[in-house]
């Protein structure tokens, strides 16, 4: 059945070449081939129905009907051999360590600026840099507790870090649900394949949140702060709260009273010790940040500064998501850890630099341009796929706001076969592993593989027509 599948001129995650699977995928390919295409389509449909019935859905922002869709799920898993995974894991841990040092430094001593590694102007012009966070000392010195780092591979199979997501990365619920659905739909595939389980994530997450609770509290109250049911990731908020057995709260459930953060219960107010927040920095506290925020809690930052509540991720971490700051991560690794970066960055052109801007404007048809402070595939131009007028419009935007944009070469992302209309088609993928920074750094084995199901598309975001796959870290075949 894979006989007609052509990996083409791409790096294929499952095949070396037509009809020749990679060693770590050999057994998987054999097992899938034992199932008929009709049966596969049927089970794929079953899996999707199950997700819809369970309400594993996300909302689309641009659609004000509040329409819910499921994140399309493809049954062919993506396989990562464990030796490669160990290398990735080391690289991710290194990156989180460096970023955490960076955050602590720029909000306190700012030695990286004083030593001339990054200019003050670069830091202070980042919209994610929050002045009210200067001087903050978060519990246990941890700023980024939960990170989702986007990784991609190029045509030769080389890994790169594409983006850091330190504010409130989402997607981990799909990792857990996809695995559950795969086990339900294809139990036979799991047999004898040593697949690393992913289910430890909620326990690890809870442990790292409890780690932050102020000293001397026997049974700390941990809550997940969500913007509410209309948020695109609401399913995940509810899922994680349920899996950890913690309370899911909205801003209106919380109040600062008597110097502490409290939640409103049917039996009066109750103290909250740790917040896992799933709302952006700007919305956390209308008294400190955006005054029009209805999602946060007035006075929260004061309580936080007093050390009477912990917040994960710490406010201010958003600066590390800035795509211009991203280009300095290799320098941070050298500066703080005295090491060389393990997983490289994608080469990045800063439009703010007039020379580099010139290059970008001259090569718009070859580059991907991204807004430095956007995510979710919004505010982005894929040069080779864009029309002339689209490129011209973007060029104007870049000239008007050079700090707002960076450009990268268009990577030819690696592909994995996906089952579309009864046949296997190669589709581009990325990978978002989830990293927890608690007592130790924990990397959930695998992560979310997002797949561009639109033919030829390089954009994998759920808001832009992407889907997902289960990701298997497996012991390499002997």
């Amino acid at each position: 059945m894979f006989n007609s599948y052509d990996p083409g001129d791409f790096y294929d995650e499952l095949f070396v070449s037509r009809g020749v699977p990679r060693p770590e995928a050999e057994l998987l390919i054999k097992r899938i081939s034992d199932i008929s295409i009709d049966e596969l389509m049927l089970r794929q449909q079953m899996a999707q129905n199950m997700l819809f019935k369970l309400g594993v859905t996300f909302n689309v922002y641009s659609d004000n009907q509040g329409t819910e869709r499921i994140f399309p799920f493809d049954v062919v898993p993506r396989v990562v051999p464990s030796n490669e995974w160990q290398w990735l894991e080391r690289g991710l841990k290194q990156r989180i360590k460096a970023l955490n040092c960076f955050l602590d430094d720029i909000y306190n001593d700012q030695t990286i600026i004083k030593d001339g590694i990054i200019s003050r102007q670069v830091i202070e012009s980042a919209p994610g840099f929050l002045k009210p966070c200067l001087g903050l000392k978060p519990p246990k010195g941890i700023w980024c507790h939960i990170t989702g780092t986007d990784l991609v591979r190029d045509r030769n199979g080389n890994w790169y870090v594409l983006e850091d997501n330190l504010r409130c990365p989402s997607g981990v619920s799909y990792v857990l649900e996809n695995r559950r659905v795969m086990k339900g739909a294809f139990p036979a595939l799991f047999d004898a394949l040593k697949i690393n389980p992913v289910d430890a994530y909620p326990s690890e997450l809870l442990a790292s949140l409890l780690h932050l609770a102020p000293e001397g509290i026997p049974d700390p109250q941990v809550v997940l702060l969500s913007p509410g049911i209309y948020n695109s990731a609401y399913f995940e908020h509810s899922f994680l709260a349920q899996q950890m057995g913690i309370e899911l709260v909205e801003g209106r459930d919380l109040v600062v009273n008597d110097g502490y953060l409290q939640m409103k219960t049917t039996k009066g107010l109750q103290r909250v010790d740790v917040i896992y927040r799933r709302i952006d920095d700007d919305f956390l506290d209308p008294l400190t940040f955006r005054p029009d925020s209805m999602l946060g809690v007035p006075g929260l930052m004061d309580v936080y500064r007093q050390g009477r509540v912990a917040i994960a991720n710490a406010p201010g971490t958003g600066i590390a998501d800035d795509k211009m700051i991203y280009s300095y991560v290799p320098a941070m690794v050298r500066y703080y850890l005295d090491e060389e970066q393990i997983i490289p960055n994608v080469p990045t052109y800063l439009c703010e630099n007039s020379q580099q801007q010139g290059y970008v404007l001259d090569h718009l048809d070859q580059l991907v341009v991204k807004a430095t402070n956007a995510s979710g595939g919004y505010g982005m131009l894929v040069g080779p796929h864009a029309s002339e007028p689209e490129r011209d419009a973007f060029a104007d935007q870049i000239r008007a706001n050079p700090r707002g944009y960076i450009a990268q070469p268009t990577l030819c992302l690696s592909r994995v076969p996906a089952l579309i209309n009864s046949e296997f088609q190669g589709c581009h993928v990325d990978l978002r592993p989830f990293i927890l920074n608690g007592e130790d750094i924990y990397v959930n084995p695998g992560g979310l593989t997002r797949v561009a199901l639109k033919k030829g598309s390089l954009v994998v975001n759920s808001s832009q027509g992407g889907g997902s796959k289960d990701t298997w870290v497996v012991a390499a075949a002997n």
Binding site: G55, Y234, F239, Q242, E247, V249, E250, D258, K264, T266
Partner: protein
């Protein structure tokens, strides 16, 4: 009367796990909305059945249905004439009328979505399917299909109550849900009885006529009460029906029975011993319960049935606002 604060001090630690006010509020309203959707189905069904029995030449009466909702002004403004089609549309699929079946089920599901980590997955799934079923039905324009639709709504509502009974811990949240369901049901049984008040008989002489009798039977059926009524009363007459639907202590849709059950749940929530009260909601519900325990049929008819039912609905509204004030709308002086 001074308003009592629910607890001596909001800052003393509580040994029993408490729940978020918003969550309690949502579970309470999920149940009210589901029960409301079921009862709107019942209203409409009783009328559909009455029509089938109405002698040729008599006017079809749809206006009473709108009147009992209390929303006749909204209806007039949006639809004008109370024709069968207009009334059915208004009560069944109107997405902008908050008490239509469609809106109720949608609100129930929205509330469930906001507490799905608290309720059981089975409850959420059942409600999600209920919602998908109503949305699919709303796309069809065939009035004839509605005859099958209303029973389906009733069954979905029973399923939800059953699933909740069997899969959710009988904890504080569960009692809030039950409280909501029984208060809503008491209110709606009162309104179903009131439908009869607004349905006009051709002449005064017709009171007690076969037609009158048929209408009472249809009314009993709409409350699923006909069979149970027969087991304890031989003849069908107004006082018998009122006695059964208002004062019967065991029939699960009688107003007294609903109030009794609601009070049990409220007692579980507050921990107050039966027969005592600390909160305004406990007092007003207890008062209502004892009124229903000691009132006689004669007294009801002396007051006038319609006036009595009106007063009862006011009392129920009062209980509802007291519950909101005591549990959901915690006032905090910052």
């Amino acid at each position: 009367m001074p308003t009592l604060h629910p607890y001596p001090s909001p800052f003393t630690p509580h040994p029993s796990p408490s729940m978020l006010s918003r969550v309690a509020d949502s579970i309470y309203w999920i149940n009210r909305y589901v029960e409301r959707a079921e009862n709107v189905s019942r209203f409409v069904e009783v009328n559909l059945h009455l029509l089938l029995d109405t002698p040729v030449g008599t006017m079809q009466q749809w206006e009473p249905l709108v009147v009992t909702t209390g929303d006749q002004d909204i209806f007039k403004e949006r639809y004008g004439e109370p024709t069968a089609e207009n009334v059915l549309k208004f009560l069944t699929f109107d997405a902008e009328y908050p008490s239509s079946i469609r809106s109720c089920v949608k609100s129930a599901r929205e509330n469930a979505r906001s507490v799905r980590e608290i309720i059981s997955s089975e409850m959420w799934e059942q409600l999600n399917e209920f919602y998908l079923m109503v949305e699919a039905a709303a796309q069809s324009n065939e009035i004839a299909e509605l005859y099958a639709f209303y029973p389906e709504v009733k069954i979905a509502s029973h399923l939800f109550a059953g699933v909740m009974e069997a899969t959710m811990s009988h904890n504080e949240g569960w009692h809030f849900g039950r409280l909501g369901r029984f208060l809503e049901r008491a209110d709606k049984t009162a309104r179903i009885l009131d439908v009869k008040y607004f349905i006009l008989l051709p002449t005064v002489v017709a009171v007690g006529s076969p037609l009158d009798n048929l209408q009472w039977i249809a009314l009993l059926r709409s409350a699923s009460a006909y069979e149970m009524y027969r087991k304890c009363q031989r003849t069908i007459n107004p006082s018998g029906v009122v006695d059964f639907l208002v004062l019967h202590p065991e029939f699960p849709r009688s107003i007294r029975c609903c109030i009794l059950q609601a009070e049990q749940s409220l007692n579980k929530i507050t921990g107050s011993p039966v027969g005592s009260w600390r909160l305004s909601s406990e007092r007003s519900l207890g008062k209502l319960r004892s009124q229903l325990e000691y009132i006689t049929l004669e007294e009801i008819f002396q007051t006038g049935l319609h006036e009595f039912l009106d007063g009862l609905q006011d009392d129920l509204n009062h209980v509802g606002s007291a519950i909101t004030e005591n549990f959901f709308g915690l006032a905090v002086s910052a």
